[in-house]
């Protein structure tokens, strides 16, 4: 392997790699991965157009034939639609004529899509239906004789749905979607999506920081009680909690973090809390925001599951969200919180879900700090691309999964990232 010395006298970086990770276990990450345009462009090729499945929508967002939604795979604009036969399709939103965006709406219902520029029209699967003046008019010549509409469809993606979550891939190399999710992750997806869901709307947040900083954040249970002070401030006891931090075994890019109440210990603690409430300090006047109706086998208060590269499935108390993470250049990302409930929710449970939406999203009591933190990292690291982070927590115990004082999932993520990127 050839290497060139760097001017700073740091460890030599192999000449053919854009980023150099000085350790193999993901515990040192060069800051250039958060700001380099070249690395960002390579991510679009190797990750978002590589052998991965990107989350596009909940099926519940496009329930009827003809329903569509504009979204992205990485930063490529795509449209996901449901065709007349009920099947899902997705195509790149770039006209096969001269490149205009065909679909200009965020959402809608249409039996066909036509480009405003010269009115080429496409069916719901992106096949070219018609070209105005194809055969010319009067003495004016139309398209050449060898013009074959079948060769000029919109670029089509492979689309699959798993339990109502719609994913797409550009790559023929991608495994099937269930294999891509993997044995460790599927039971946790099944846990949340065990019955039909209803889409309740979305909120959007824009952060001036790199998309991978958000991935680090949602794989980082260590920050939860340090950065988010809501529970501590309001004297809300969180004892008898059982933690889990599980990576996906194939490539380490997906993960799940859970925090689960031990129901007996918790009720004892609440009695104590009653006594403690005589103390000074703050109390919530309306505690229903932290109410919890048991819906699954375990009384898990937090389920934070990342499905690489653009989905985070979240259950916090009774709020349910599919967060879609979209990169917008090296320095920005958009985060879209797709809230949902179950179709059989009682009115009371539905109201609780809406009330608990106050916990998460752009104004969330226990989440608003996350984008603040990722922006601080972006601003702090921009001038030092070759410097690295130090990701050591629980490094001596890589197999430990029943802890939330760990950075193991972040290290696993970076190892998987290096493999995909060829770093």
């Amino acid at each position: 392997m050839s290497a060139v010395p760097t001017s700073e006298g740091a460890a030599p970086a192999p000449a053919h790699k854009l980023a150099f990770f000085p350790r193999e276990d993901g515990s040192r990450v060069p800051y250039e991965v958060f700001s380099s345009q070249e690395i960002y462009d390579l991510e679009q090729e190797r990750i978002f157009r590589g052998p991965t499945w990107s989350f596009l929508a909940l099926e519940a967002e496009i329930p009827k034939p003809g329903d569509y939604k504009s979204t992205f795979v990485g930063d490529t604009p795509v449209v996901v639609t449901r065709s007349e036969d009920g099947e899902l399709a997705a195509w790149v939103n770039r006209c096969s004529h001269r490149g205009a965006m065909v679909c200009r709406n965020a959402r809608g219902n249409a039996s066909s899509h036509s480009c405003v520029y010269h009115q080429w029209s496409f069916d719901q699967r992106g096949n070219l239906l018609g070209v105005p003046f194809r055969r010319g008019q009067k003495h004016m010549t139309g398209m050449p004789k060898d013009f074959d509409p079948k060769c000029h469809s919109l670029r089509q993606l492979k689309v699959e749905s798993y339990r109502g979550l719609v994913f797409a891939t550009f790559s023929d190399e991608a495994p099937t979607l269930p294999d891509y999710l993997g044995n460790e992750m599927r039971p946790w997806v099944d846990r949340i999506f065990h019955k039909p869901v209803e889409y309740l709307g979305c909120t959007r947040q824009y952060s001036q920081s790199n998309w991978k900083l958000y991935y680090e954040n949602v794989k980082d249970p260590y920050h939860a009680s340090m950065l988010h002070l809501f529970h501590t401030t309001f004297n809300i006891f969180r004892v008898g909690m059982h933690a889990r931090s599980l990576p996906d075994a194939t490539h380490g890019l997906h993960s799940i973090i859970t925090v689960t109440k031990n129901e007996e210990e918790t009720s004892a603690a609440y009695k104590q809390q009653g006594i403690r409430s005589m103390d000074d300090g703050f109390r919530l006047e309306d505690e229903s925001v932290l109410g919890h109706v048991k819906e699954y086998d375990e009384l898990t208060t937090n389920h934070i599951q990342t499905i690489f590269p653009q989905l985070v499935i979240q259950q916090i108390h009774n709020t349910l969200v599919a967060r879609q993470l979209l990169p917008k250049g090296p320095d920005n990302f958009e985060l879209i919180f797709h809230f949902f409930g179950y179709t059989d929710d009682t009115p009371e449970l539905r109201e609780l879900r809406l009330k608990q939406a106050n916990l998460v999203g752009p104004a969330g009591y226990i989440s608003m700090e996350d984008t603040e933190a990722t922006e601080l990292v972006q601003r702090g690291t921009r001038r030092d691309p070759k410097a690295t982070s130090v990701i050591e927590m629980a490094r001596d115990n890589p197999g430990q999964q029943d802890s939330n004082i760990t950075e193991s999932l972040i290290r696993r993520f970076w190892v998987g990232y290096q493999q995909l990127m060829g770093f």
């Binding site: 965020a106 959402r107 889409y199 309740l200 709307g201 979305c202 909120t203 959007r204 947040q205 824009y206 952060s207 001036q208 950065l227 002070l229 809501f230 501590t232 401030t233 309001f234 703050f282 919530l284 006047e285 309306d286 925001v289 958009e334 809230f339 109201e351 809406l354 009330k355 939406a357 106050n358 999203g361 752009p362 104004a363 009591y365 608003m368 700090e369 984008t371 603040e372 922006e375």
Partner: protein, 160 residues
């Protein structure tokens, strides 16, 4: 209602609106919940959800206690960059429902200035309010800030 009464009513409600934005723009957050009734509803809702009849917002409170909780949380728990708002409102329309209840509609723009001194249009939208006459004067029974600016830049701490 004669012309004079109508003008007087508009003036009173306009004053309520001015007081509302003054409280938010001048860091008197503790006063903010006092402008609502106890059984109030307050929401900050993306227009895209409102247009589709979907209920989710970035903030949703259905009583005054939740508003006070939000203020305590902002003052003592949440971490965010220091910033200030300047609300510009316009186009106040009032529709009396009965002697003590009025619906209000108006536009707002919030300019946010962050710690680096840069000011940006942070949010544009409309208020859809219902106000009621109480012993303390007019109070919001319902206030919905429906925002056009679909993406929230970084985070939303101070209410709209």
């Amino acid at each position: 209602m004669d012309k004079m009464e109508q003008m007087l009513l508009w003036f009173e409600l306009h004053s309520l609106q001015e007081r509302y934005v003054s409280v938010l723009d001048n860091d008197r957050l503790e006063e903010w919940p006092t402008l609502f009734t106890e059984d109030c509803e307050y929401g900050v809702i993306p227009k895209e959800n409102e247009d589709m009849g979907l209920p989710v917002g970035v903030i949703w409170c259905n009583n005054q206690r939740m508003l006070r909780d939000r203020v305590v949380s902002l003052r003592h728990a949440n971490i965010f960059e220091a910033h200030s708002y300047r609300h510009m409102t316009s186009g106040l329309q009032i529709t009396p429902v009965d002697a003590d209840t009025v619906d209000m509609l108006s536009n707002y723009v919030v300019v946010q200035t962050r710690a680096n001194g840069e000011s940006q249009v942070y949010q544009a939208g409309r208020y859809e309010d219902r106000v009621v006459r109480t012993a303390e004067g007019w109070r919001f029974q319902k206030k919905r800030a429906i925002f056009d600016t679909s993406r929230v830049q970084t985070l939303l701490a101070t209410p709209i």
